[in-house]
């Protein structure tokens, strides 16, 4: 709860009653890892954000900016939270220069609405992220969550061209701009990506857009063994075919995927079964390109000894691709208690995947090898008891060590609170932590932004 008694009154005085919520039941809904704010503020413009931050800064109040709150569980529990800054009221497209393929949008803009606006001009933003239906632009950037289109379009750092944000002193700052090429000043906006609100409150984001592909298609193949599936997956990656998404599903992941597809009454590809490894590839472009890539992928699947394989038309591709885009969302709730790791490795080898898959021997594990060297590794338990948590903690240690040993790294993308109390979701502090700490201090000298959530307790 708030450290100052008259917080609500102070905030109401500054912004007006209609911007502030303090009903206990609403506050509970804004809790981040069980830490509920003392008040919720719903700013309507950047100046109001700055006003709240100035108040927080002068009173040393902790503040957490939130969007749709679909990814608030990423990171460590905050040490405190006085104010939740709900950005969802700021949802305008400030500029859209379709002819330049650039736009600026307020942080609270839902991706779904944005998608519709861009589609009118045959363009899109390649942020295909989980919880897509509710997510806001600002929340997605702050969470740093993976887009399933990374293989082709890169990550947000490759197409975020500028930002406006309020720093820890309550000043509205900007970096970058609205042109696609720009080296003027420090690229501070890159630091906002994945920063979980710890260095600034994002108020506006500038992106470059991409032309909507004419059409798309997919291919799915199943394999007797993880080794074969991985060999195929790596062959597709090495082929340099213009692939939009590439995912390898362990049998456990395939089983959940199949169940979700069936529930949605969508077509269930025969290759997505609960007892085999599967590889999904999607590609896009003109009909001719799609046809060509489909043919090459099919050939690679046969060469790799696929048990079964099948092409996916645009409809089936959307369906399966859509389910896998949401993997982060459904993996979290696939069992009563889940520890979900994100492992990044320079090279994905069969023995590594095997080792990861068998790390938690007594646990039910699932592996989803994604594009760009990212692996989602999920362990599922039946209940959040001390024994399970202890096992999880041991597994976490093993995964962190294994990743580090392969020149990679791992984080816990989702974990029960009890596990976060035993291990840091960020793993060991990185070698450049001293610099990160200084950067945090430069942006947020009073440490008011989401304290404790980030790497090394920042």
């Amino acid at each position: 709860m708030s450290t100052i008694a008259n917080l609500t009154e102070r905030l109401e005085g500054a912004l007006g009653k209609e911007r502030i919520v303090s009903a206990v039941e609403e506050l509970a809904q804004y809790a981040v890892d069980g830490v509920a704010p003392g008040a919720i503020v719903r700013p309507q413009c950047a100046e109001e954000v700055a006003e709240v931050v100035r108040l927080a800064s002068s009173e040393k109040l902790a503040l957490i900016p939130v969007g749709a709150r679909s990814k608030c569980g990423i990171g460590m529990p905050p040490t405190r939270c006085d104010i939740a800054l709900d950005m969802s009221g700021m949802r305008k497209i400030a500029h859209y220069d379709a002819g330049d393929l650039t736009f600026s949008v307020d942080a609270g803009m839902p991706l779904r609405e944005l998608e519709a606006a861009l589609a009118e001009r045959q363009q899109f933003l390649p942020l295909a992220v989980p919880c897509f239906e509710s997510s806001t632009a600002g929340g997605v950037i702050a969470s740093g969550i993976d887009s399933v289109l990374r293989q082709r379009y890169g990550s947000a750092r490759d197409f975020l061209i500028g930002a406006e944000f309020v720093d820890g002193k309550g000043k509205l700052c900007k970096s970058g701009g609205r042109v696609v090429k720009n080296v003027t000043g420090y690229d501070l906006h890159k630091l906002l990506i994945g920063s979980l609100g710890t260095i600034g409150v994002i108020t506006r984001l500038n992106f470059r857009t991409f032309p909507l592909p004419e059409t798309h298609g997919g291919h799915v193949a199943s394999f007797e063994s993880g080794e074969r599936a991985l060999a195929f997956r790596n062959a597709v990656e090495a082929s340099d075919l213009p692939v939009a998404n590439l995912e390898l599903l362990s049998p456990a992941i395939a089983k959940i995927t199949k169940a979700i597809l069936a529930k949605e009454d969508g077509p269930v590809p025969g290759c997505v079964e609960g007892d085999s490894w599967a590889v999904y590839v999607s590609f896009e472009g003109s009909a001719k390109i799609v046809q060509r890539v489909a043919k090459d992928v099919e050939r690679l699947a046969h060469e790799a000894g696929a048990k079964k394989d099948e092409p996916l038309d645009a409809g089936s591709d959307s369906q399966l691709g859509g389910v896998l885009r949401e993997a982060f969302a459904w993996l979290r709730w696939a069992a009563p208690v889940v520890a979900l790791f994100r492992v990044v490795l320079p090279r994905i080898m069969a023995e590594t995947v095997g080792a990861l898959n068998h790390t938690g021997d007594s646990l039910h594990g699932a592996v989803l090898v994604r594009a760009c060297g990212v692996i989602y590794l999920s362990f599922m338990g039946e209940q959040e008891d001390e024994r399970t948590l202890r096992t999880f903690a041991k597994v976490a240690k093993d995964v962190f060590v294994l990743a580090a040993g392969k020149q990679g790294h791992a984080t816990l993308l989702h974990a029960p609170l009890g596990l976060k109390q035993k291990v840091s979701v960020w793993g060991a502090a990185p070698g450049d932590f001293s610099i990160m700490k200084k950067v945090k201090q430069a942006f947020d000298p009073d440490a008011i932004f989401a304290p404790g959530r980030y790497v090394g307790g920042l």
Binding site: G99, S155, R157, G177, V179, V183, D187, S286, R292, A442
Partner: protein, 472 residues
């Protein structure tokens, strides 16, 4: 201090005689500043020792690669020690499977590609000076090049860096495969123009060579038609790998120097390259051809073979050298505008030139709106030099007015630091300053760059520069 550095590095790795230092008072910009010592480290440890020593003597430091920069980034504005990375030019590791190379900062940009092309890979950022500029300089300036239109600038191709901080501490940031937990420090460091740390090792991402490449030369009778073509190509969502424009005046000078095959009687040409899988290349080629014809292109030629392709690119990449034959010096500007505003921008830039008595040539990255107007001048004529600087600033201001920016790839350096307040507010500067100070609290690294030195924002002084120019 000279003696201590000499015993540290050996006398062959230190320059201090005036005539030796003269060579290092220039880079590719129109600025000049002389260091007091020039040193050539061979290892990270050397760099760290030099930095510690300089800190003890409270002497400023500036890093330098090949000195091809165009904004004065590698000039010793504060005097002191210049660390030239030319002898730290080893390729440390090549990992073909992971498509990464670990290199020292003095490795020449094109040498990275040479080392990996046998495996069908290359390093994508391709500044025109790529045969001489170093990767360390590319990282400092976040260098671009013609093919960054499709593949991004240097920052999109860097995975990890080793830094030496101003107190001599060695730190590694980023990770080989990118995506390390924590703030994207590589994203901050790339393009920080040597004002935050010295970079001593770089892990670069390597890209696969495309299956198919086609180079097109679209020939126009008016500059307006050529620039309208760029607007249309962009608006249609066609992303060529490169889309360069040369105006008629410039291409004639280039033809005199290198017979690249640009038609002398044209008003402008677009040099376009499309890459990717065969089917995509064919489709793009057709689409671009249609746009060109709709925009009244006189002719669209397709380079027949690699030799014809290379010749066209040779013409493009050596254009600045060709211009050097016309006047004692040339001032290559670097501004960015929204691409849709290209036609009006080019007209207006020519007008600005006329006002100050210059014919301004244009040879630039049209596809991403990155202009490089060229002002030819004689540095011995102080009035002409002054006019060149005033015209340049007017052009850059105009880019900002159009919604553009000060620099697309050359950096701010000491060329445009006083113009920064056209874009940034006091609050922006305060934050950038705090970030700067987090790394470089005493401004001992590359002082006098990026940040405006004059008081009062919005009020731009014209610097009282010495007459002098590096190009020619």
């Amino acid at each position: 201090m000279g003696g201590e550095i000499r015993s540290l590095l050996g006398p062959d790795n230190v320059l201090s005689a005036n005539e030796e230092l003269l060579l290092y008072e220039f880079d590719g910009s129109v600025e000049k500043a002389r260091p007091e010592l020039v040193v050539f480290p061979r290892t990270t440890e050397d760099v760290s020792n030099i930095v510690r020593l300089a800190a003890r003597y409270q002497v400023p430091i500036v890093g330098r690669g090949a000195g091809t920069g165009l904004s004065g980034g590698a000039l010793a504005r504060g005097g002191g020690v210049m660390i030239v990375f030319a002898r730290m030019n080893k390729i440390i590791e090549i990992d073909l499977e992971s498509r990464r190379a670990v290199v020292q900062p003095g490795v020449v940009n094109a040498d990275i590609t040479k080392a990996v092309e046998h495996a069908g890979l290359y390093f994508a950022p391709d500044p025109s000076s790529q045969k001489s500029c170093t990767i360390g300089g590319n990282v400092a300036e976040n260098a671009g090049g013609p093919h960054t239109l499709a593949y991004g600038v240097t920052t999109n191709h860097i995975a990890a860096l080793e830094l030496v901080l101003p107190d001599g501490e060695v730190v590694r940031i980023g990770s080989k495969h990118g995506d390390a937990p924590g703030y994207d420090l590589c994203g901050l460091l790339v393009g920080s123009e040597g004002t935050l740390a010295l970079v001593t090792e770089i892990t670069v991402k390597l890209s696969p060579k495309p299956e198919s490449v086609k180079t097109l030369l679209a020939i126009f009778d008016t500059i307006e038609d050529a620039s309208q073509t760029v607007v249309e190509i962009t608006a249609q969502g066609i992303t060529p790998a490169a889309c360069e424009m040369l105006d008629g005046w410039t291409l004639r000078i280039v033809e005199d120097y290198i017979q690249a095959g640009f038609p002398r009687d044209s008003a402008a040409v677009l040099l376009l390259e499309v890459e990717g899988v065969r089917e995509a290349v064919e489709a793009q080629e057709t689409a671009i051809g249609e746009v060109c014809r709709r925009c009244r292109a006189r002719e669209v030629r397709i380079a027949r073979d690699d030799h014809a392709r290379e010749l066209l690119w040779k013409g493009r990449k050596n254009a600045f050298g060709a211009l050097g034959r016309l006047a004692p010096s040339n001032y290559v500007l670097d501004g960015v505008i929204p691409r849709s505003k290209l036609p009006q921008a080019l007209t207006n830039i020519l007008e600005i030139g006329k006002k100050y008595g210059f014919h301004i040539g244009n040879i630039f990255h049209a596809g991403d709106g990155n202009l490089h107007p060229i002002v030819l001048y004689d540095p011995r004529d102080s009035q002409q030099f002054k006019n060149a600087v005033v015209a340049a600033e007017e052009i850059i201001r105009y880019c900002v007015e159009l919604g553009g920016t000060l620099t697309g790839e050359h950096g701010v350096g000491m060329e445009k630091n006083e113009l920064m307040s056209l874009l940034f507010s006091d609050a922006d500067f305060e934050l950038m300053r705090r970030v700067h100070d987090a790394f470089n609290p005493d401004s001992s690294l590359n002082p006098g760059k990026i940040f405006p030195l004059s008081k009062g924002c919005g009020e731009i002084r014209i610097r009282n520069r010495e007459t002098g120019g590096a190009r020619g």
